[in-house]
């Protein structure tokens, strides 16, 4: 069985995001970038499945500028066998990414496609679902447990009401939740070995798909600052303030 895992390079989760002065986006120059955290879970799960003898090959794919390759290298360092970097410039929407991965799936013919449930930069949470529609494959989103069966998967999903367990046929798409596992560290010798593993570079223009943006971004701005709260002396004052100042009751 072959697993394709999609990874995205995003601003590190510890970094405080800063908006560009002209509101055209966020500052990314000299900012620490990392792999999107749930994508690390996706890679980890694939590696675990391979270690359990249930998969034979793991291919890590990323889409983006040259430096996005770092995320593929990291995936190779923790156990992926091969990398693919689809080279693009500028921002891409989930639909474009889904179309790109669809093309790669047609070429690589994996049995499973794993990715994070959403990226922490745009929070879209759409790529897995769109890919599922484009490929006409079943999907299991927000996976916190995956069990491999002969021709199907049993997946536990993190949903608002609690946990939902479903069974889907393979080939399938799974988007991974942070609770799925604890990603391992890349060891130094494995990072060195990863430098020698192959990364195939593909120009997006060679895939023959339309990736034109469908959304026009008007403005990026900081959320309004929360005003400091006040302490009220008693319930009567609270009610009075809610009624006359906040005008909510």
């Amino acid at each position: 069985m072959k697993i394709l895992v999609a990874v995205k390079r995003v601003i590190d989760y510890n970094v405080q995001i800063r908006i560009k002065e002209d509101g055209s986006g966020v500052v990314t120059d000299n900012v620490k970038m990392s792999t999107n955290p749930p994508d690390d879970n996706a890679i980890e799960e694939a590696v675990k499945i391979k270690e359990a003898g249930k998969a034979t090959e793991i291919v890590a794919i990323t889409v983006g500028e040259v430096k996005a390759q770092e995320t593929v290298r990291k995936a190779l360092a923790v156990g992926a066998d091969k990398g693919i970097h689809v080279k693009t410039e500028g921002a891409l929407e989930p639909l474009a990414i889904s179309k790109i991965i669809q093309k790669i799936v047609e070429k690589e013919k994996p049995d499973l496609v794993f990715m994070g449930k959403q990226a922490i930069d745009d929070d879209c949470n759409q790529t897995g679902q769109m890919l599922s529609a484009l490929l006409n494959w079943p999907q299991a989103t927000f996976a916190s447990k995956i069990e491999i069966k002969d021709t199907s998967l049993e997946v536990t999903r993190e949903i608002d009401e609690g946990l939902e367990t479903i069974e889907i046929n393979t080939p399938a798409i799974v988007t991974c939740d942070l609770r799925l596992n604890e990603p391992r560290y890349a060891s130094l010798p494995n990072i060195m070995k990863a430098k020698k593993k192959p990364i195939e570079e593909i120009n997006v223009s060679d895939l023959g798909i339309d990736i034109t943006p469908r959304i026009e971004q008007l403005k990026v701005e900081e959320p309004p600052k929360r005003k400091a709260g006040i302490k009220v002396a008693n319930v009567a004052e609270l009610v009075q303030k809610l009624k006359n100042e906040a005008k909510v009751i």
Binding site: N14, D29, N30, K32, L188
Partner: protein, 539 residues
């Protein structure tokens, strides 16, 4: 426990200017050398903090064509100011009356973090293997006592010291020569200085704590290329320190404050001195309407010539601020750190090729401009132990009239941890409340550093005696860790009327001040899990 090991010709600890210059120079001298460089930060530059007005002398020698290599050295110094601050007034000191070492017209305003990222690219292009996120936690020795290499930190250990599922053992990196370039108060450097008695006959080392904020300011107040320093308020005459303000590109200014860690009053809070400094009319008028976008702090090494340890030992070299090559009157350590790394590289090359002893480092160092520079600068810092005014008068005589050639050398008398006076004998300082416009509390400042340490790992700030902070230091010195730590790591909390010393180690920004200033040397800074610590951008 057996660990995997890897062998290299040279292992370098630390991806700052000295370590990277060592690596680049070595590859230039012999492209076939196998060189590995470890960095504890998650990426090169993420733990680097410096003013920085950069003198290109060492870089001109290392990479003469740096101007063609898309380097981040762009903003030339165009104008200089030096102000003496009173509480509300300021007096501008004519720049022609500044010693030559404090004149910057040939220098550049840079971000040292970005310079290091760029140097790392040059090093990687030459074939140096760079591993960020791997702190060297332990020195390895041969049977004959010489340095054999280092071991990296184990990953995936929980608070109690048990292995987690994600446990990944550290590995041993063995070098024919190991170069320690950890920066100021490197924890392995500290061990080596002690073990090999490298500071024998030297004065006690001197340190400072430096703060830096990056502000984006109103373009009407911004003068790209302007370098401004101040002395005086808010510090008193007996406390050594001053500020810098460098107008960089993109309407940014690098605003910072340095305070000598030999201060005497345990009630002094370096962080709050810096915060209130920004409210001085001469500073406020420039940053008003601007926005603070970064914050950080780091200890710096100020002892200079008199405190500089021997930099070679069997199997290893100590370079840059790990040894203490900063030129204090120049307020610059990057070019000197780079030069020390380059001399180390030449030494290692001859050691490997011609089997010369590493002690040839000393001859090379003594015949270099680096030595001359540090020698001439030697008397400035100790003269300030007589107070700001006498220090300035002496420095004028020493640096302008005699150009550092006075026939005597002043001594540093005390180590910084010995200088605190009992809390009851010193005046309390009433710091103003933060206004969240110009001045900010520690929590919101630390937030800007992006610092983080994976939770459930052992505390990396070790107490030799866990009871000492409450039983002794609190009573005698009002536990100054609460104030000298720029990240709010240390707190004394009252629980049911009992005092408790709390270490919020996840806040640590790796400045090393606690390791230096703790009066009983009771706090020991060791490396946390790899990749932890601040995530500085262009600091």
């Amino acid at each position: 426990m057996s660990r995997e090991s890897m062998e290299y010709d040279v292992v370098i600890i630390g991806g700052g200017p000295s370590g990277l210059s060592t690596a680049i120079k070595l590859k230039q001298l012999d492209p076939n050398l196998n060189i590995c460089l470890l960095e504890k930060a998650s990426e090169i530059g993420a733990h680097i903090l410096s003013g920085n007005v950069f003198e290109t002398r060492a870089l001109d020698e290392l990479l003469p064509n740096w101007r063609e290599l898309n380097s981040p050295i762009k903003t030339k110094v165009t104008k200089e100011k030096f102000l003496f601050l009173g509480k509300t007034k300021s007096l501008s000191w004519p720049t022609w009356l500044l010693p030559a070492v404090q004149q910057n017209h040939k220098n550049y305003i840079i971000s040292l973090a970005n310079l290091c990222r760029w140097l790392a690219e040059q090093a990687e292009n030459l074939g140096v293997e760079i591993f960020p996120g791997f702190p060297a936690s332990e020195v390895l020795y041969n049977d004959d006592g010489s340095v054999r290499g280092v071991a990296t930190q184990d990953m995936g250990i929980d608070k109690e010291g048990n292995k987690k599922d994600s446990f990944e053992p550290g590995i041993e990196l063995l070098g024919k020569v190991t170069v320690f370039a950890e920066g100021c108060r490197g924890h392995l450097g500290k061990e080596l200085i002690q073990k090999f008695d490298l500071n024998k006959g030297k004065d006690p080392q001197q340190y400072g704590i430096g703060f830096k904020e990056i502000w984006e300011i109103d373009e009407n107040n911004h003068e790209e290329g302007l370098v401004m320093h101040t002395a005086g308020w808010p510090l008193d005459n007996s406390t050594y320190g001053g500020s810098f303000m460098y107008h960089a590109e993109n309407k940014q200014i690098f605003l910072g404050y340095v305070i000598g860690l030999d201060y005497k009053n345990p009630h002094l809070s370096p962080y709050d001195e810096f915060q209130r400094f920004k409210t001085h009319p001469a500073i406020k008028k420039i940053i008003k309407g601007g926005k603070r976008i970064s914050y950080g702090a780091r200890a710096l090494i100020e002892g200079g010539f008199q405190s500089l340890p021997q930099m070679f030992m069997p199997g290893a070299l100590l370079v840059g601020c790990d040894a203490g090559t900063l030129n204090m009157p120049k307020i610059k350590g990057s070019h000197t750190a780079m030069k020390s790394g380059m001399i180390a590289a030449e030494t290692i090359n001859e050691h490997l090729k011609e089997n010369k002893d590493l002690s040839i480092f000393d001859q090379k160092f003594k015949s270099s401009w680096l030595y001359k520079e540090l020698f001439e600068a030697r008397n400035v810092k100790p003269s300030f132990s007589w107070g700001l005014i006498l220090g300035i008068i002496f420095t004028g005589i020493d640096q302008i009239l005699f150009r550092g050639k006075l026939p005597f050398t002043l001594k540093h008398k005390h180590a910084d941890h010995e200088t605190l006076k009992p809390a009851k004998d010193m005046p309390k300082i009433d710091y103003p409340k933060y206004d969240n416009v110009l001045t900010f509390d520690k929590t919101s400042s630390v937030y800007l550093t992006g610092t983080n340490h994976a939770d459930n790992q052992p505390v990396h700030l070790k107490l030799k005696d866990p009871n000492l902070p409450i039983n002794y230091t609190l009573e005698k010195f009002d536990e100054p860790a609460q104030r000298y730590c720029p990240a709010g790591v240390y707190e004394v909390q009252k629980e049911n009327d009992v005092n408790k010393f709390v270490i919020n180690s996840q806040n640590c920004i790796h400045c090393k001040t606690c390791d230096i200033k703790e009066p009983s040397q009771n706090i020991v800074w060791v490396t946390p899990e790899g990749g932890g610590g601040p995530k500085y951008g262009n600091m």
